[in-house]
Protein backbone atom coordinates (compact mmCIF):
# COMPACT_ATOMS: atom_id res chain seq x y z
CA UNK A 1 0.00 0.00 0.00
CA UNK A 2 1.47 3.26 -1.12
CA UNK A 3 1.36 6.41 0.92
CA UNK A 4 -1.12 9.08 -0.14
CA UNK A 5 0.53 12.48 -0.45
CA UNK A 6 -2.40 14.50 -1.69
CA UNK A 7 -6.10 13.97 -1.17
CA UNK A 8 -9.09 16.12 -2.00
CA UNK A 9 -12.68 15.59 -1.03
CA UNK A 10 -15.69 17.46 -2.39
CA UNK A 11 -13.89 20.56 -3.53
CA UNK A 12 -16.18 23.24 -4.95
CA UNK A 13 -14.98 26.60 -6.14
CA UNK A 14 -17.00 29.61 -7.22
CA UNK A 15 -16.01 32.77 -9.02
CA UNK A 16 -18.14 35.61 -7.76
CA UNK A 17 -17.03 38.19 -10.25
CA UNK A 18 -18.61 39.23 -12.62
CA UNK A 19 -21.44 36.72 -11.94
CA UNK A 20 -21.55 33.78 -9.61
CA UNK A 21 -20.29 30.75 -11.49
CA UNK A 22 -19.07 27.40 -10.29
CA UNK A 23 -15.68 26.52 -11.75
CA UNK A 24 -14.96 23.35 -9.78
CA UNK A 25 -17.63 20.77 -8.99
CA UNK A 26 -17.12 18.16 -6.32
CA UNK A 27 -13.50 17.34 -7.07
CA UNK A 28 -12.58 14.10 -5.41
CA UNK A 29 -9.25 12.39 -6.00
CA UNK A 30 -5.94 11.46 -4.44
CA UNK A 31 -2.33 11.17 -5.52
CA UNK A 32 -0.04 8.45 -4.15
CA UNK A 33 3.64 8.75 -3.58
CA UNK A 34 5.79 8.23 -6.65
CA UNK A 35 2.98 8.86 -9.12
CA UNK A 36 3.48 11.00 -12.20
CA UNK A 37 0.05 12.52 -12.81
CA UNK A 38 -1.01 14.80 -15.63
CA UNK A 39 -4.17 16.92 -15.38
CA UNK A 40 -5.52 17.73 -18.80
CA UNK A 41 -8.53 19.42 -20.22
CA UNK A 42 -9.60 22.25 -22.45
CA UNK A 43 -8.76 25.81 -21.67
CA UNK A 44 -11.13 27.13 -18.99
CA UNK A 45 -12.07 23.72 -17.60
CA UNK A 46 -10.70 24.69 -14.19
CA UNK A 47 -7.48 22.69 -14.13
CA UNK A 48 -5.25 25.63 -13.20
CA UNK A 49 -7.76 26.78 -10.59
CA UNK A 50 -7.65 23.30 -9.10
CA UNK A 51 -3.86 23.38 -9.02
CA UNK A 52 -3.80 26.66 -7.12
CA UNK A 53 -6.20 25.23 -4.56
CA UNK A 54 -4.13 22.07 -4.21
CA UNK A 55 -1.02 24.21 -3.81
CA UNK A 56 -2.63 26.05 -0.83
CA UNK A 57 -2.16 29.45 -2.50
CA UNK A 58 -5.93 29.78 -3.08
CA UNK A 59 -7.88 29.31 0.12
CA UNK A 60 -11.27 30.46 -1.07
CA UNK A 61 -13.01 27.10 -1.72
CA UNK A 62 -15.35 24.56 -0.20
CA UNK A 63 -14.33 21.04 0.63
CA UNK A 64 -11.36 19.39 2.26
CA UNK A 65 -7.75 18.98 1.30
CA UNK A 66 -5.04 16.86 2.90
CA UNK A 67 -1.36 17.19 2.11
CA UNK A 68 0.84 14.45 3.55
CA UNK A 69 -2.15 13.43 5.68
CA UNK A 70 -2.38 16.88 7.20
CA UNK A 71 -5.69 18.76 6.79
CA UNK A 72 -5.32 22.24 5.27
CA UNK A 73 -8.56 23.56 6.68
CA UNK A 74 -8.21 26.29 9.28
CA UNK A 75 -4.50 26.88 8.78
CA UNK A 76 -3.18 30.42 8.98
CA UNK A 77 -1.50 32.20 6.10
CA UNK A 78 1.97 31.72 7.56
CA UNK A 79 1.36 28.03 8.30
CA UNK A 80 0.34 27.52 4.68
CA UNK A 81 3.42 29.44 3.54
CA UNK A 82 5.50 27.03 5.59
CA UNK A 83 3.80 24.01 3.98
CA UNK A 84 4.43 25.42 0.49
CA UNK A 85 8.01 26.02 1.46
CA UNK A 86 8.63 22.59 2.91
CA UNK A 87 6.39 20.14 1.06
CA UNK A 88 5.55 21.58 -2.34
CA UNK A 89 7.80 22.46 -5.24
CA UNK A 90 6.46 24.67 -8.01
CA UNK A 91 7.17 24.95 -11.70
CA UNK A 92 5.13 27.57 -13.52
CA UNK A 93 4.52 28.26 -17.19
CA UNK A 94 6.85 31.21 -16.86
CA UNK A 95 10.06 30.63 -15.03
CA UNK A 96 9.53 33.36 -12.37
CA UNK A 97 13.13 33.56 -11.36
CA UNK A 98 14.18 36.60 -9.36
CA UNK A 99 16.32 38.66 -11.71
CA UNK A 100 18.06 40.41 -8.82
CA UNK A 101 19.82 37.20 -7.84
CA UNK A 102 22.19 34.71 -9.43
CA UNK A 103 20.93 31.32 -10.58
CA UNK A 104 22.47 29.64 -7.56
CA UNK A 105 20.88 32.08 -5.14
CA UNK A 106 17.51 31.64 -6.83
CA UNK A 107 17.72 27.91 -6.23
CA UNK A 108 18.90 28.44 -2.66
CA UNK A 109 16.23 30.94 -1.56
CA UNK A 110 13.47 28.47 -0.52
CA UNK A 111 16.13 26.44 1.29
CA UNK A 112 17.37 29.49 3.14
CA UNK A 113 13.80 30.26 4.11
CA UNK A 114 13.23 26.74 5.45
CA UNK A 115 16.53 26.81 7.39
CA UNK A 116 16.69 23.04 7.69
CA UNK A 117 20.36 23.09 6.75
CA UNK A 118 23.23 25.52 7.13
CA UNK A 119 23.90 27.98 4.36
CA UNK A 120 26.95 26.06 3.11
CA UNK A 121 24.93 22.85 3.08
CA UNK A 122 22.12 24.50 1.13
CA UNK A 123 24.60 25.82 -1.41
CA UNK A 124 26.01 22.34 -1.81
CA UNK A 125 22.56 20.84 -2.28
CA UNK A 126 21.65 23.56 -4.80
CA UNK A 127 24.79 22.76 -6.82
CA UNK A 128 23.91 19.06 -6.72
CA UNK A 129 20.48 19.73 -8.16
CA UNK A 130 21.87 22.02 -10.85
CA UNK A 131 24.29 19.21 -11.73
CA UNK A 132 21.47 16.67 -11.94
CA UNK A 133 19.73 18.96 -14.41
CA UNK A 134 22.96 19.59 -16.31
CA UNK A 135 23.14 23.34 -15.77
CA UNK A 136 25.78 23.67 -13.04
CA UNK A 137 27.86 25.84 -15.41
CA UNK A 138 25.19 28.55 -15.21
CA UNK A 139 25.23 28.75 -11.41
CA UNK A 140 26.81 32.19 -11.13
CA UNK A 141 24.99 33.84 -14.01
CA UNK A 142 22.18 36.30 -13.42
CA UNK A 143 18.74 34.85 -14.01
CA UNK A 144 17.99 37.18 -16.92
CA UNK A 145 21.04 36.01 -18.92
CA UNK A 146 19.57 32.55 -19.48
CA UNK A 147 17.53 31.10 -22.35
CA UNK A 148 13.92 30.04 -21.82
CA UNK A 149 14.73 26.33 -21.51
CA UNK A 150 17.58 27.00 -19.11
CA UNK A 151 15.38 29.20 -16.95
CA UNK A 152 12.76 26.48 -16.71
CA UNK A 153 15.41 23.98 -15.61
CA UNK A 154 16.61 26.42 -12.94
CA UNK A 155 12.99 26.72 -11.79
CA UNK A 156 12.84 22.92 -11.50
CA UNK A 157 16.04 22.91 -9.47
CA UNK A 158 14.50 25.52 -7.19
CA UNK A 159 11.37 23.39 -6.80
CA UNK A 160 13.56 20.46 -5.70
CA UNK A 161 15.74 22.24 -3.15
CA UNK A 162 13.73 21.31 -0.04
CA UNK A 163 13.02 17.71 -1.12
CA UNK A 164 9.29 18.38 -1.50
CA UNK A 165 6.85 15.50 -1.22
CA UNK A 166 5.18 16.67 -4.40
CA UNK A 167 6.09 18.82 -7.37
CA UNK A 168 3.28 20.77 -8.97
CA UNK A 169 3.59 22.21 -12.45
CA UNK A 170 1.29 24.63 -14.23
CA UNK A 171 1.92 24.19 -17.96
CA UNK A 172 5.67 23.91 -17.37
CA UNK A 173 6.29 23.29 -21.09
CA UNK A 174 3.63 25.68 -22.32
CA UNK A 175 6.08 28.40 -23.17
CA UNK A 176 8.88 26.23 -24.58
CA UNK A 177 9.73 24.89 -28.04
CA UNK A 178 9.63 21.18 -28.84
CA UNK A 179 13.27 20.52 -28.01
CA UNK A 180 13.16 22.24 -24.62
CA UNK A 181 9.78 20.71 -23.87
CA UNK A 182 11.30 17.29 -24.38
CA UNK A 183 14.21 18.12 -22.12
CA UNK A 184 11.87 19.27 -19.37
CA UNK A 185 9.68 16.21 -19.79
CA UNK A 186 12.70 13.94 -19.61
CA UNK A 187 13.77 15.62 -16.42
CA UNK A 188 10.34 15.01 -14.87
CA UNK A 189 10.42 11.40 -16.00
CA UNK A 190 13.90 10.94 -14.57
CA UNK A 191 12.87 12.51 -11.26
CA UNK A 192 9.93 10.17 -11.06
CA UNK A 193 11.79 7.01 -11.96
CA UNK A 194 15.12 7.55 -10.29
CA UNK A 195 14.14 9.58 -7.22
CA UNK A 196 10.54 8.35 -6.79
CA UNK A 197 9.42 11.95 -6.91
CA UNK A 198 5.66 12.57 -6.95
CA UNK A 199 4.59 14.92 -9.73
CA UNK A 200 1.29 16.61 -10.50
CA UNK A 201 1.46 18.48 -13.78
CA UNK A 202 -1.31 20.53 -15.37
CA UNK A 203 -0.91 20.55 -19.14
CA UNK A 204 -2.91 20.76 -22.33
CA UNK A 205 -0.07 19.13 -24.29
CA UNK A 206 -1.52 15.70 -25.21
CA UNK A 207 1.82 14.10 -26.11
CA UNK A 208 3.21 15.22 -22.73
CA UNK A 209 0.20 13.78 -20.90
CA UNK A 210 0.25 10.48 -22.74
CA UNK A 211 3.72 9.69 -21.49
CA UNK A 212 2.81 10.05 -17.81
CA UNK A 213 1.53 7.26 -15.56
CA UNK A 214 -1.89 8.62 -15.02
CA UNK A 215 -4.07 11.19 -16.71
CA UNK A 216 -6.84 13.08 -14.96
CA UNK A 217 -9.08 14.63 -17.56
CA UNK A 218 -11.31 17.54 -16.68
CA UNK A 219 -14.23 19.20 -18.37
CA UNK A 220 -16.44 22.02 -17.09
CA UNK A 221 -15.06 21.83 -13.58
CA UNK A 222 -15.52 18.06 -13.20
CA UNK A 223 -13.15 15.16 -13.42
CA UNK A 224 -14.43 13.07 -16.33
CA UNK A 225 -11.80 10.38 -16.39
CA UNK A 226 -9.27 9.36 -13.77
Amino acid sequence: MKKTVLQSKGINKYFKDPVLSQVLKDIHFSVDQGEFVAVTGKSGCGKSTLLYILSTMDTDYEGDLWIDGDPMRGKTESELARIRNEKIGFVFQFHYLLTEFSVLKNVMLPGLKLKKFSEAEIEHRAMERLKTLGIEALALKKANQLSGGEKQRVAIARALINDPIIIMGDEPTGNLDKKNSDIVFDIFKQLCEEFKQTLLIVTHDQSFAENTHRIIEMEDGRIISN
Binding site: S48, M57, S78, Y96, L98, L109, K113
Partner: protein, 419 residues
Protein backbone atom coordinates in the same frame (compact mmCIF):
# COMPACT_ATOMS: atom_id res chain seq x y z
CA UNK B 1 14.86 34.02 12.83
CA UNK B 2 15.16 34.63 9.13
CA UNK B 3 16.34 38.19 9.53
CA UNK B 4 19.57 37.59 7.66
CA UNK B 5 17.75 36.19 4.65
CA UNK B 6 15.20 39.00 4.74
CA UNK B 7 17.95 41.60 4.99
CA UNK B 8 19.71 39.91 2.09
CA UNK B 9 16.63 40.05 -0.13
CA UNK B 10 15.91 43.65 0.90
CA UNK B 11 19.49 44.58 0.02
CA UNK B 12 19.22 42.96 -3.41
CA UNK B 13 15.96 44.72 -4.19
CA UNK B 14 17.43 48.00 -2.97
CA UNK B 15 20.54 47.62 -5.11
CA UNK B 16 18.57 46.43 -8.15
CA UNK B 17 16.98 49.87 -8.26
CA UNK B 18 19.86 51.75 -6.71
CA UNK B 19 19.19 54.99 -8.58
CA UNK B 20 15.67 55.24 -7.22
CA UNK B 21 16.84 54.25 -3.77
CA UNK B 22 19.54 56.89 -3.97
CA UNK B 23 17.04 59.58 -4.92
CA UNK B 24 14.87 58.59 -1.95
CA UNK B 25 17.88 58.62 0.37
CA UNK B 26 18.99 62.01 -0.95
CA UNK B 27 15.54 63.36 -0.13
CA UNK B 28 15.98 62.27 3.47
CA UNK B 29 19.58 63.50 3.55
CA UNK B 30 18.54 66.91 2.29
CA UNK B 31 15.77 67.26 4.86
CA UNK B 32 17.94 66.18 7.76
CA UNK B 33 20.78 68.44 6.61
CA UNK B 34 18.45 71.42 6.50
CA UNK B 35 16.82 70.41 9.77
CA UNK B 36 20.16 70.26 11.59
CA UNK B 37 21.60 73.40 10.00
CA UNK B 38 18.40 75.36 10.51
CA UNK B 39 17.94 74.36 14.13
CA UNK B 40 21.63 74.86 14.93
CA UNK B 41 21.64 78.30 13.36
CA UNK B 42 18.29 79.39 14.77
CA UNK B 43 19.19 78.27 18.25
CA UNK B 44 22.64 79.80 18.02
CA UNK B 45 20.96 83.07 17.17
CA UNK B 46 18.41 82.56 19.93
CA UNK B 47 21.11 81.94 22.50
CA UNK B 48 22.92 85.04 21.31
CA UNK B 49 19.89 87.29 21.48
CA UNK B 50 18.75 85.87 24.79
CA UNK B 51 22.26 86.14 26.15
CA UNK B 52 22.35 89.78 25.19
CA UNK B 53 19.87 90.47 27.94
CA UNK B 54 19.56 87.34 30.02
CA UNK B 55 23.29 86.94 30.65
CA UNK B 56 23.45 90.33 32.21
CA UNK B 57 20.18 90.27 34.02
CA UNK B 58 19.84 88.86 37.48
CA UNK B 59 17.27 86.10 37.82
CA UNK B 60 16.04 87.76 40.97
CA UNK B 61 16.92 91.29 42.00
CA UNK B 62 16.38 92.56 45.54
CA UNK B 63 16.11 96.32 45.89
CA UNK B 64 14.08 99.07 47.49
CA UNK B 65 11.80 100.94 45.14
CA UNK B 66 11.19 104.63 45.62
CA UNK B 67 7.55 104.59 46.74
CA UNK B 68 5.28 105.80 49.52
CA UNK B 69 5.77 104.02 52.82
CA UNK B 70 2.88 101.55 53.28
CA UNK B 71 3.11 101.98 57.08
CA UNK B 72 1.85 105.52 57.68
CA UNK B 73 1.88 106.82 61.31
CA UNK B 74 -1.90 107.05 61.56
CA UNK B 75 -2.23 103.31 60.95
CA UNK B 76 -0.02 102.65 63.93
CA UNK B 77 -2.11 104.80 66.24
CA UNK B 78 -4.43 102.81 68.47
CA UNK B 79 -6.93 105.65 68.46
CA UNK B 80 -7.76 105.22 64.74
CA UNK B 81 -7.36 101.48 64.46
CA UNK B 82 -11.07 100.74 64.12
CA UNK B 83 -11.83 102.82 61.01
CA UNK B 84 -10.61 103.09 57.47
CA UNK B 85 -8.15 105.99 57.19
CA UNK B 86 -8.05 108.21 54.11
CA UNK B 87 -4.76 110.04 53.83
CA UNK B 88 -4.03 112.55 51.08
CA UNK B 89 -0.86 114.09 49.65
CA UNK B 90 1.50 111.33 50.69
CA UNK B 91 4.97 111.73 49.18
CA UNK B 92 7.29 108.94 48.15
CA UNK B 93 10.20 108.45 50.46
CA UNK B 94 13.63 107.97 48.90
CA UNK B 95 15.46 107.53 52.12
CA UNK B 96 15.33 103.76 52.03
CA UNK B 97 17.23 102.95 48.82
CA UNK B 98 19.70 101.05 50.91
CA UNK B 99 19.03 97.41 51.64
CA UNK B 100 19.18 97.16 55.40
CA UNK B 101 21.03 94.36 57.00
CA UNK B 102 22.49 93.44 53.61
CA UNK B 103 25.26 91.26 55.06
CA UNK B 104 22.74 89.00 56.78
CA UNK B 105 20.56 88.80 53.66
CA UNK B 106 23.56 87.86 51.51
CA UNK B 107 24.51 85.17 53.96
CA UNK B 108 20.98 83.75 54.03
CA UNK B 109 20.64 83.78 50.24
CA UNK B 110 24.02 82.13 49.74
CA UNK B 111 22.87 79.23 51.94
CA UNK B 112 19.82 78.64 49.72
CA UNK B 113 20.45 75.51 47.57
CA UNK B 114 18.50 76.96 44.63
CA UNK B 115 20.94 79.85 44.29
CA UNK B 116 23.88 79.61 41.91
CA UNK B 117 25.53 82.88 42.88
CA UNK B 118 24.93 86.31 44.23
CA UNK B 119 26.38 89.69 43.31
CA UNK B 120 25.88 92.86 45.39
CA UNK B 121 25.56 96.10 43.53
CA UNK B 122 25.14 99.81 44.14
CA UNK B 123 23.47 102.03 41.60
CA UNK B 124 24.35 105.66 41.93
CA UNK B 125 22.82 108.30 39.66
CA UNK B 126 25.59 110.78 38.77
CA UNK B 127 26.63 113.57 36.43
CA UNK B 128 29.79 113.17 34.37
CA UNK B 129 31.48 116.56 34.10
CA UNK B 130 33.17 117.51 30.84
CA UNK B 131 34.17 121.13 30.85
CA UNK B 132 30.99 123.10 31.17
CA UNK B 133 28.73 120.26 30.22
CA UNK B 134 27.20 117.78 32.62
CA UNK B 135 26.09 114.42 31.27
CA UNK B 136 23.63 112.42 33.32
CA UNK B 137 24.52 108.83 33.95
CA UNK B 138 24.67 105.96 36.37
CA UNK B 139 27.66 104.48 38.11
CA UNK B 140 27.22 100.83 39.02
CA UNK B 141 29.29 99.70 41.97
CA UNK B 142 30.12 96.04 41.35
CA UNK B 143 32.37 93.25 42.51
CA UNK B 144 34.30 92.55 39.28
CA UNK B 145 35.13 88.93 40.04
CA UNK B 146 31.58 87.93 40.92
CA UNK B 147 30.10 90.03 38.16
CA UNK B 148 32.35 88.35 35.59
CA UNK B 149 31.56 84.89 36.89
CA UNK B 150 27.79 85.37 36.94
CA UNK B 151 27.08 87.97 34.29
CA UNK B 152 30.02 87.69 31.87
CA UNK B 153 31.10 91.26 32.63
CA UNK B 154 34.60 90.61 31.24
CA UNK B 155 33.23 89.80 27.78
CA UNK B 156 31.87 93.29 27.37
CA UNK B 157 34.97 95.25 28.39
CA UNK B 158 36.42 96.20 25.00
CA UNK B 159 39.52 98.02 26.18
CA UNK B 160 41.52 97.78 29.37
CA UNK B 161 41.59 95.09 32.02
CA UNK B 162 38.41 94.71 34.06
CA UNK B 163 40.47 93.55 37.04
CA UNK B 164 42.00 97.05 37.28
CA UNK B 165 38.64 98.11 38.66
CA UNK B 166 39.54 96.17 41.78
CA UNK B 167 43.29 96.76 41.76
CA UNK B 168 43.37 100.49 41.01
CA UNK B 169 41.68 102.68 43.58
CA UNK B 170 39.21 105.35 42.41
CA UNK B 171 38.94 103.75 38.98
CA UNK B 172 36.04 103.57 36.55
CA UNK B 173 35.10 101.66 33.39
CA UNK B 174 33.08 103.93 31.13
CA UNK B 175 30.36 102.91 28.72
CA UNK B 176 31.44 103.41 25.12
CA UNK B 177 28.88 106.14 24.53
CA UNK B 178 29.88 107.98 27.69
CA UNK B 179 33.58 107.74 26.81
CA UNK B 180 32.92 109.18 23.34
CA UNK B 181 31.00 112.10 24.78
CA UNK B 182 33.68 112.80 27.37
CA UNK B 183 36.50 112.20 24.84
CA UNK B 184 37.98 110.01 27.54
CA UNK B 185 40.54 107.28 26.95
CA UNK B 186 42.21 104.79 29.25
CA UNK B 187 44.42 106.59 31.76
CA UNK B 188 42.36 109.78 31.68
CA UNK B 189 40.67 111.12 34.78
CA UNK B 190 36.98 112.02 34.65
CA UNK B 191 35.04 114.07 37.17
CA UNK B 192 31.87 112.55 38.56
CA UNK B 193 29.31 114.42 40.64
CA UNK B 194 26.61 112.73 42.69
CA UNK B 195 23.07 113.99 43.07
CA UNK B 196 24.03 115.27 46.51
CA UNK B 197 26.72 117.46 44.97
CA UNK B 198 29.79 115.47 46.03
CA UNK B 199 32.47 115.36 43.35
CA UNK B 200 35.17 112.73 42.86
CA UNK B 201 37.85 112.38 40.17
CA UNK B 202 38.00 108.80 38.81
CA UNK B 203 40.64 107.21 36.62
CA UNK B 204 39.43 105.47 33.45
CA UNK B 205 40.76 101.89 33.32
CA UNK B 206 38.51 100.46 30.63
CA UNK B 207 35.80 100.99 28.02
CA UNK B 208 32.67 98.92 28.14
CA UNK B 209 30.33 98.03 25.26
CA UNK B 210 27.18 96.09 25.99
CA UNK B 211 25.70 96.00 22.51
CA UNK B 212 22.78 98.17 23.53
CA UNK B 213 23.83 101.69 22.54
CA UNK B 214 21.42 103.56 24.79
CA UNK B 215 22.72 101.64 27.76
CA UNK B 216 26.35 102.45 26.91
CA UNK B 217 25.58 106.17 26.73
CA UNK B 218 24.60 106.20 30.37
CA UNK B 219 26.21 103.36 32.31
CA UNK B 220 29.66 103.04 33.76
CA UNK B 221 31.17 100.73 36.34
CA UNK B 222 33.24 101.23 39.46
CA UNK B 223 34.10 98.96 42.35
CA UNK B 224 31.72 98.78 45.30
CA UNK B 225 34.18 100.57 47.58
CA UNK B 226 34.71 103.43 45.11
CA UNK B 227 30.98 103.88 44.70
CA UNK B 228 30.46 103.91 48.45
CA UNK B 229 33.16 106.56 48.71
CA UNK B 230 31.54 108.54 45.90
CA UNK B 231 28.21 108.52 47.69
CA UNK B 232 29.75 109.09 51.10
CA UNK B 233 28.21 105.93 52.47
CA UNK B 234 29.58 103.36 54.89
CA UNK B 235 31.00 100.07 53.62
CA UNK B 236 27.83 98.08 54.25
CA UNK B 237 25.81 100.23 51.88
CA UNK B 238 24.25 98.14 49.10
CA UNK B 239 21.26 99.09 46.96
CA UNK B 240 20.82 95.91 44.92
CA UNK B 241 21.39 92.23 45.46
CA UNK B 242 21.48 90.32 42.19
CA UNK B 243 20.77 86.63 42.48
CA UNK B 244 21.41 84.02 39.80
CA UNK B 245 19.48 80.77 40.26
CA UNK B 246 20.31 77.27 39.14
CA UNK B 247 16.91 77.02 37.47
CA UNK B 248 15.65 80.12 35.72
CA UNK B 249 12.07 78.91 35.88
CA UNK B 250 12.01 79.16 39.66
CA UNK B 251 12.69 82.89 39.61
CA UNK B 252 9.09 84.14 40.12
CA UNK B 253 8.54 81.87 43.12
CA UNK B 254 11.89 82.74 44.66
CA UNK B 255 11.32 86.47 44.11
CA UNK B 256 7.98 86.28 45.86
CA UNK B 257 9.44 84.37 48.78
CA UNK B 258 12.41 86.70 49.23
CA UNK B 259 10.27 89.83 49.01
CA UNK B 260 8.31 88.57 51.97
CA UNK B 261 11.29 87.20 53.87
CA UNK B 262 13.61 90.19 53.55
CA UNK B 263 10.98 92.97 53.37
CA UNK B 264 12.44 94.38 50.15
CA UNK B 265 11.21 94.63 46.61
CA UNK B 266 12.10 91.64 44.48
CA UNK B 267 11.83 91.44 40.73
CA UNK B 268 12.20 88.21 38.75
CA UNK B 269 13.63 87.98 35.25
CA UNK B 270 10.41 86.77 33.67
CA UNK B 271 8.61 89.93 34.75
CA UNK B 272 11.51 92.16 33.75
CA UNK B 273 12.12 90.59 30.32
CA UNK B 274 9.06 88.60 29.40
CA UNK B 275 9.27 89.41 25.70
CA UNK B 276 12.57 87.55 25.26
CA UNK B 277 11.22 84.20 26.25
CA UNK B 278 8.26 84.61 23.90
CA UNK B 279 10.60 85.54 21.05
CA UNK B 280 12.91 82.58 21.44
CA UNK B 281 9.99 80.18 21.87
CA UNK B 282 8.42 81.34 18.61
CA UNK B 283 11.72 81.14 16.74
CA UNK B 284 12.35 77.59 17.97
CA UNK B 285 8.82 76.62 17.05
CA UNK B 286 9.25 77.94 13.50
CA UNK B 287 12.53 76.10 12.94
CA UNK B 288 11.07 72.82 14.21
CA UNK B 289 8.01 73.29 12.01
CA UNK B 290 10.11 73.90 8.89
CA UNK B 291 12.37 70.94 9.66
CA UNK B 292 9.48 68.58 10.21
CA UNK B 293 7.72 69.72 7.05
CA UNK B 294 10.90 68.97 5.09
CA UNK B 295 11.00 65.47 6.57
CA UNK B 296 7.36 64.81 5.77
CA UNK B 297 7.97 65.82 2.16
CA UNK B 298 10.90 63.40 2.07
CA UNK B 299 8.58 60.78 3.56
CA UNK B 300 6.18 61.16 0.65
CA UNK B 301 9.11 60.70 -1.73
CA UNK B 302 9.97 57.41 -0.06
CA UNK B 303 6.32 56.38 -0.10
CA UNK B 304 6.12 56.99 -3.85
CA UNK B 305 9.30 55.16 -4.66
CA UNK B 306 8.37 52.15 -2.54
CA UNK B 307 4.93 52.04 -4.11
CA UNK B 308 6.46 52.02 -7.57
CA UNK B 309 8.94 49.39 -6.52
CA UNK B 310 6.11 47.17 -5.33
CA UNK B 311 4.29 47.45 -8.65
CA UNK B 312 7.49 46.60 -10.48
CA UNK B 313 8.25 43.72 -8.17
CA UNK B 314 4.80 42.11 -8.17
CA UNK B 315 6.26 39.01 -9.84
CA UNK B 316 9.03 38.81 -7.29
CA UNK B 317 6.57 39.14 -4.41
CA UNK B 318 4.31 36.50 -5.96
CA UNK B 319 7.12 34.02 -6.43
CA UNK B 320 8.48 34.62 -2.94
CA UNK B 321 5.04 33.85 -1.60
CA UNK B 322 4.58 30.81 -3.83
CA UNK B 323 7.87 29.35 -2.66
CA UNK B 324 6.99 29.70 0.99
CA UNK B 325 7.59 33.28 2.16
CA UNK B 326 4.69 34.48 4.28
CA UNK B 327 3.01 37.89 4.08
CA UNK B 328 4.87 39.06 7.16
CA UNK B 329 8.22 38.12 5.57
CA UNK B 330 7.35 40.23 2.53
CA UNK B 331 6.26 43.10 4.78
CA UNK B 332 9.54 42.92 6.67
CA UNK B 333 11.49 43.03 3.41
CA UNK B 334 9.83 46.23 2.28
CA UNK B 335 9.98 47.84 5.73
CA UNK B 336 13.64 46.91 5.77
CA UNK B 337 14.13 48.74 2.48
CA UNK B 338 12.35 51.82 3.82
CA UNK B 339 14.29 51.87 7.08
CA UNK B 340 17.60 51.36 5.29
CA UNK B 341 16.86 54.38 3.11
CA UNK B 342 15.86 56.33 6.23
CA UNK B 343 18.90 55.32 8.26
CA UNK B 344 21.50 55.88 5.54
CA UNK B 345 19.86 59.10 4.37
CA UNK B 346 19.50 60.27 7.95
CA UNK B 347 23.10 59.53 8.94
CA UNK B 348 24.42 61.28 5.84
CA UNK B 349 22.07 64.15 6.65
CA UNK B 350 23.53 64.44 10.15
CA UNK B 351 27.01 64.55 8.67
CA UNK B 352 26.11 67.15 6.04
CA UNK B 353 24.09 69.11 8.59
CA UNK B 354 27.10 69.21 10.90
CA UNK B 355 29.35 70.30 8.00
CA UNK B 356 26.89 73.00 6.99
CA UNK B 357 26.78 74.20 10.60
CA UNK B 358 30.58 74.36 10.63
CA UNK B 359 30.51 76.43 7.44
CA UNK B 360 27.89 78.81 8.83
CA UNK B 361 30.02 79.08 11.96
CA UNK B 362 32.88 80.42 9.78
CA UNK B 363 30.90 83.14 8.00
CA UNK B 364 32.00 86.54 9.37
CA UNK B 365 29.31 88.39 11.24
CA UNK B 366 30.42 91.76 12.58
CA UNK B 367 28.01 94.14 14.14
CA UNK B 368 28.56 97.04 16.46
CA UNK B 369 25.74 95.83 18.64
CA UNK B 370 27.46 92.52 19.40
CA UNK B 371 31.09 93.20 20.20
CA UNK B 372 31.97 89.63 21.23
CA UNK B 373 30.58 88.01 18.06
CA UNK B 374 32.86 87.57 15.05
CA UNK B 375 30.99 84.86 13.08
CA UNK B 376 27.42 83.64 12.85
CA UNK B 377 26.50 81.78 16.02
CA UNK B 378 25.62 78.08 15.76
CA UNK B 379 24.32 75.79 18.45
CA UNK B 380 25.69 72.21 18.28
CA UNK B 381 23.28 70.73 20.81
CA UNK B 382 23.29 66.90 20.36
CA UNK B 383 19.55 67.02 21.03
CA UNK B 384 18.94 68.24 17.46
CA UNK B 385 20.99 65.38 16.03
CA UNK B 386 19.09 62.80 18.06
CA UNK B 387 15.74 64.30 17.06
CA UNK B 388 16.92 64.37 13.45
CA UNK B 389 17.85 60.68 13.24
CA UNK B 390 14.85 59.50 15.24
CA UNK B 391 12.51 61.54 13.11
CA UNK B 392 14.06 60.32 9.86
CA UNK B 393 13.52 56.71 10.99
CA UNK B 394 9.98 57.39 12.14
CA UNK B 395 9.06 59.15 8.88
CA UNK B 396 10.53 56.43 6.69
CA UNK B 397 8.88 53.77 8.80
CA UNK B 398 5.47 55.30 8.19
CA UNK B 399 6.30 55.99 4.53
CA UNK B 400 7.21 52.31 4.17
CA UNK B 401 4.42 50.93 6.32
CA UNK B 402 1.54 51.25 3.85
CA UNK B 403 3.41 50.08 0.73
CA UNK B 404 4.81 47.17 2.77
CA UNK B 405 1.35 46.21 3.97
CA UNK B 406 0.13 46.33 0.40
CA UNK B 407 2.99 44.09 -0.68
CA UNK B 408 2.23 41.60 2.08
CA UNK B 409 -1.33 41.31 0.79
CA UNK B 410 -0.39 40.59 -2.83
CA UNK B 411 -2.23 37.45 -3.91
CA UNK B 412 0.25 35.25 -5.82
CA UNK B 413 -2.53 33.44 -7.68
CA UNK B 414 -3.73 36.65 -9.35
CA UNK B 415 -0.22 37.58 -10.46
CA UNK B 416 0.70 34.13 -11.74
CA UNK B 417 -2.68 33.64 -13.45
CA UNK B 418 -2.51 37.06 -15.02
CA UNK B 419 0.33 36.03 -17.32
Amino acid sequence: MNLKLIADIAKSLLLARWRQSLVAAIGVTFSITMFIALLGFMNGLNDLLDGLVLNRTAHVRLFNEIKPNPHQPINLSSEFKGGHNFIQSIKSSGSRLEIYNSAAIIKAVKADPRVLGIAPKITAPVLYNAGTIDITGVVNGIDVMVESALFFFKDYVREGDPLDLKNVSNSIILGKGVAEKLLAEIGDVVQVTTSKGDRLPLKVVGIFQSGIADYDKVQSYASIATTQKLLGKPNNYITDIQIKLKDLQQAPAVAKEYAQLFQTDAEDIQTANSQFETGSFVRTLISYAVGIVLLIVAGFGIYNILNMMIYEKMDTIAILKATGFSGSDVRKIFLGIALTIGLLGGLLGLLFGFSLSLIIDQIPFNTAALPTIKTYPVNYNPKFYIIGIVFSLVTTYFAGFFPARKASKVDPVIIIRGK
